[in-house]
Every structure is written in C-alpha cells, then in structure tokens.
C-alpha cells in the first residue's frame, strides 16, 4: 500500500548571523546550511495494517508524512501510495488519503462543524449516499452529536481532534495518516479515538500510519512499529519483537513473610528494598524469573511475587538513546 525506498529530504536553512547588526545582515545574507531531515529511509506498509511511526521530536516523522501526502517533494528516493506518486499526482493522491494533524485543523474555524463537512463533501466529491451513511455512523461513534452545530472555534481540543478524524474519513480514504492525533487529548476522548480507529481499520480495511509520543496509542492500535531517529530508520518490526530485543531488563518483585536483610543473588541485581518487599532486575538472556524465585525461595520464605515487564516507553527511550 505504501512503499518508501531510500527516501531523502534535505532542507536549506538560512544561517542566522550573530553579533552587531545581525538583524540587518540577515536581510542580505543568502548563506544556507543543508539539513537532512529524512536520511535514506526504506519501509513499506501493507494493505490494512496499522503501523506506529515513532521517534523523538524532529526525528523526521512529520516530514515523511508530508512527503506521503504530496505536499513536500522528496530530495531523492521513491515514494508510492497505492501505486501513486504523491508529489507528481497530488490530486489523485489527495482523494485516496485522509490526513489528520493533531496540532492543526483542516476544518473552517468560524463555521459550524456540519457546514465544514458539507463543504468537504463538495471538495472531495463524495456521493450523497456515502456521505450520509458515513456521517450517521461516525458522529455517534465519536460522540460528536453535541458539537455538530458548533464552530470549531468553540470546541475543546478532544472534540476538535475527533471532528478532524471524522472529516478525514468522510470520503472513505484507503489510507489514513495520523500525525500525533492524541497530543493533549484527555483519556476519554483518547479511548473514543482508539476504538474508532481500530473499528474503521477492521471494517473498511483502511491502512493507518500513526505517529505518536503516547505509547498507549501504540499498544492499543499498532501491530507493527517503525522507529526513526535523526532521519534514520532505527527499527522496523512487530511490537513483541521490539520488546524482546530492546526490553532486555526485566524486574522481579518478591514479598517475604518477614523482613529480611539485603542479600546478593547470582545474575540479578537488587534495585530496591521496602519493608518485606525487594525488587531485583535481571537480563532477559541471563536469568528467568523461575530460576531466581527458586534460588531465593531456598533461603527465605517467599510470600508473593510479581514479574514486571519493561514498559514500551522505557524500551523506546532505550532505543532512542542506543544510537
């Protein structure tokens, strides 16, 4: 569905002068530095997949999405979206994609929501039947009944993002690009968004490419993640393998029947002690929880245990830092 190969995007950035009369000299300067925002990225997304596209701020995620939506021209490399080259065939591409930027809205600020939808219906040339059917379905699913006659200006952020997602899907796009859709959105609205996106994906087979900083989004929605950093591809694969590969440090909490002094265990490190409880961390390849419990249980009476898997946030942080 989406093919990206050896994609590169360079920006020219004017050099800001420092020192005396810097502002004036800036006016006459044509000095530039080249910044590679996206550097040789290759990945593909299959029909009907939901792929999480993650990376630090400024990693090149939005730039890639903009190239996929045809509003930025790649410096080199190839992009196709369902066989269409987004930049060369911007109009054809625009009809088959839906785009939501969490920070920006495509809706008209002063106009009641339903009027924005009516105008989109004309711009996207959506059939009456499709339009009505989608609207009747999406509005209750996204809990938009109350705001449908309100202008975007008066909406809360959560309502606005939901309204934007609804707008992006009115024309039944094959592919949905979501760029940080949950940024600043409350937990209730977030749940609506998660449920809505997975429902649409399941029912219509819409392919979704999602960038986010919220690992909850990734866990709820994505089977696969693509991680980029400073324009480079860091990881591409399913979520579970990522946990296996990068979430190597696990933890074990043991609650004893009575307080015990600190002690050492082979292949594990004592990280925390609190009343009857102790926490140990260990490497996935060096020890299993069972071995640890057995060797500790031999010496002290164990009351309760808990295995703590590294959370995704932790893994991603490691991944970002591992470079």
């Amino acid at each position: 569905m989406i093919e990206v190969s050896h994609l590169v995007k360079e920006f020219k950035i004017p050099v800001q002068k420092k020192g005396r009369f810097a502002a004036v000299r800036n006016l006459f300067s044509s000095e530039h530095t080249i910044k590679r925002a996206v550097d040789d990225i290759t990945f593909s997304v299959d029909d009907g997949e939901i792929v999480g596209f993650i990376g630090k701020n400024g990693a090149g995620k939005s730039t890639t999405i903009k190239m996929l939506s045809g509003i930025l021209q790649p410096t080199s490399g190839n992009v196709t979206v369902d066989g269409i080259k987004p930049f060369e065939q911007r109009m054809e591409n625009a009809k088959q994609i839906g785009v939501v930027f969490g920070q920006k809205t495509q809706l008209w600020w002063d106009v009641p929501l339903i009027e924005s939808y009516r105008l989109l219906k004309e711009i996207y040339k959506i059939e009456d039947g499709t339009y009505r059917k989608n609207l009747d379905r999406y509005i209750p699913m996204l809990d938009l009944e109350e705001v449908i006659n309100k202008p975007v200006r008066q909406m809360s952020l959560g309502q606005r993002v939901k309204a934007d997602i609804c707008a992006a899907l009115l024309h039944d796009p094959k592919i949905l690009f979501l760029d940080e859709p949950t940024i600043g959105v409350d937990v209730v609205s977030k749940k609506y968004l998660h449920d809505f996106i997975s429902e649409i994906n399941r029912e219509k087979g819409t392919t979704v490419l999602l960038t986010t900083h919220d690992m909850g989004d990734i866990e709820k929605l994505c089977s696969r993640v693509v991680v980029i950093d400073s324009g480079h591809l860091m990881y591409d694969g399913d979520l579970e393998s990522m946990v296996q590969k990068f979430g190597v440090i696990r933890s074990l909490m043991i609650e004893f029947d009575e307080p015990v002094g600190d002690f050492q265990v082979e292949n594990a490190k004592l990280t925390r002690s609190e009343g009857n409880r102790k926490w140990f961390s260990f490497h996935r390849s060096e020890a299993t929880p069972m071995e640890l419990i057995r060797s500790i249980g031999d010496k002290y009476p164990v009351h309760d245990i808990e295995i703590i898997e590294p959370d995704i946030e932790e893994i991603v942080r490691k991944l970002y830092e591992s470079k």
Partner: protein, 272 residues
C-alpha cells in the same frame, strides 16, 4: 482555474453558506460594515451635490450620472472588499501553518480560493450592498439601465471581479514567501483607490496621471464597469473597454498561474 473541475450549484452553495457563517459570526462587525457602506454612499452623494452646487462643470458629466458613479463605486468596493480578500486568508493560513491543509485538498488551489472569494462576494452583495443600494436608489433617484447597457455592465462587472481576484491572489502567493503582506496590501489598496477611479473619476485627472492609470489594471476593477453603467462608454467604446478588461484577465491569469507553480515548488522543496 479549469472549468473542467466542475462547479455545480451545490458546490457554489456550499461555499456561499460557509462565507455566510464566516460573516454572520462577527455580528458587531457586520452591522458596522452595513452602517459604513450606507454612510459612504450617502456622503459621496452629498459631496458631489455640494461640488456641483459650487461649480456645475466640475467633472464634465451631469450630476445624476456623477452620483450614480460615486454610489456604485462605494457599492463595488463593499462587494469586492479588496482590503480583506483571499490574500489575507492565505497570509493567515501561512502564518498559522495550516496552509498545508488547504494545499492538500483534492481541488485546484486557485480555483478553491476563487470559489471561496465568489461565496464571500455573493454574501456581501446580498447582505451589505443590496440593502444600502435600495436605500440609495430612492434617496438619490438613481437611474436604471437600458438592456444593452445592462448587459455590458454585467459582463464588465464579472470581469472586474475576476481581475480583482487575480490581483489579490497574486498578493496571497507573495505572502507564502514573505510571510507578511500587511504593508504591501496597504500600499496596493492605496494605489487601487487612486488609480482605479473608485473615489475620483479618472477623467478629471491631469493627463499624465490618466496615462499611468491607462497602463495599470486597476481601472478594470472600478472605472470600466462604473463608466459603462453611467453611459460614458457605449457601443464600440464599451466593447473596447471590455476588451481591455479581458486582456488583463488573460495576462494576470497567466501570471498568477506561473507564479503559483513557482511558489508551490519553492514551498514544497523548502518546506515553507
């Protein structure tokens, strides 16, 4: 602006409704605008009456025609609203960073801006200008047109709207590069008011200034349709003037198209 994109009644209505909401939301500003439009018509009418009382040959045309011309100038300005046209919308979208959302839509950007502009022109005509014009009509007993003049005037009016759109659109494209066009827009409007014959008819200008205005597109927006209305251009003269407007539409249309391509390429390569 390819006609093949197909503008149906529905599309037109959708844009019109949108612009109606845009205007109706700022109610205070709407009433002030309505009051301003009416007041301007009233005052230009009275200014010319007073000038004619002092010197009946002040402009070389009879007073009723002069009043029609002046009132029409105010009406046209209120309809076209060149201070706050598509250029301001584009500039604000650029500054908010949401222009991408407009470019991303499967519709030719220029056509989209034109449709939006037409919506706002229709709304301004219906709600601002029509009521003021009706009052002014009775107040100054303005004259109605005969059929051929009316047809010429309507053609010229359409051309005027298109020329005005192209100029505004070109300014809007400039804002994609310079980010701010408030000063340019102010200068443009000053030139427009002076060289278009909107306030002061061009025929009372000294000849040197008249020549300058002949070579500028501004008179296509006001002087030509207004002069046709009062019968200053009739027959072959009218056709010639329509030809002048048409030529400017062609030139500005081509220019805006080329400029749009250049600016888009630049924005899309540089990332805005």
């Amino acid at each position: 602006m390819r006609a093949s994109r197909g503008i149906s009644i529905h599309t037109g209505m959708a844009f019109l409704r949108n612009e109606f909401y845009n205007m109706s939301i700022y109610r205070v500003s709407f009433w002030i605008n309505l009051f301003y439009t009416f007041l301007m018509m009233y005052s230009v009418g009275y200014v010319w009456r007073a000038l004619y009382a002092a010197n009946p040959n002040v402009s070389g045309v009879p007073l009723p025609q002069m009043i029609s011309y002046a009132v029409l100038g105010v009406a046209l300005e209120a309809i076209l609203h060149p201070r706050n046209g598509p250029q301001i919308y584009i500039m604000e979208q650029v500054r908010k960073g949401t222009i991408e959302m407009d470019i991303m839509k499967p519709i030719d950007f220029q056509f989209y801006m034109f449709a939006k502009n037409m919506g706002s022109i229709a709304v301004r005509f219906l709600f601002l200008v029509l009521p003021s014009l009706i009052v002014a009509f009775f107040l100054f007993s303005l004259k109605l047109l005969d059929l051929s003049a009316l047809f010429g005037f309507l053609c010229s009016l359409v051309f005027s709207i298109i020329v005005s759109f192209f100029l505004n659109f070109i300014l809007g494209l400039l804002s994609m590069i310079t980010m701010n066009i408030r000063n340019i827009n102010w200068g443009y409007n000053a030139l427009l008011r002076f060289f278009s014959g909107q306030m002061v008819p061009l025929w009372i200008f000294p000849s040197a200034l008249g020549v300058i205005s002949d070579f500028l597109p501004f008179r296509c927006i006001y002087a030509i349709p207004m002069s046709i209305y009062i019968g200053n251009y009739a027959g072959m003269d009218m056709l010639r003037e329509l030809g002048v407007q048409f030529t400017w539409i062609f030139v500005l249309g081509l220019l805006s198209r080329l400029l749009m391509k250049r600016v888009f390429a630049r924005v899309m390569i540089q990332g805005g």
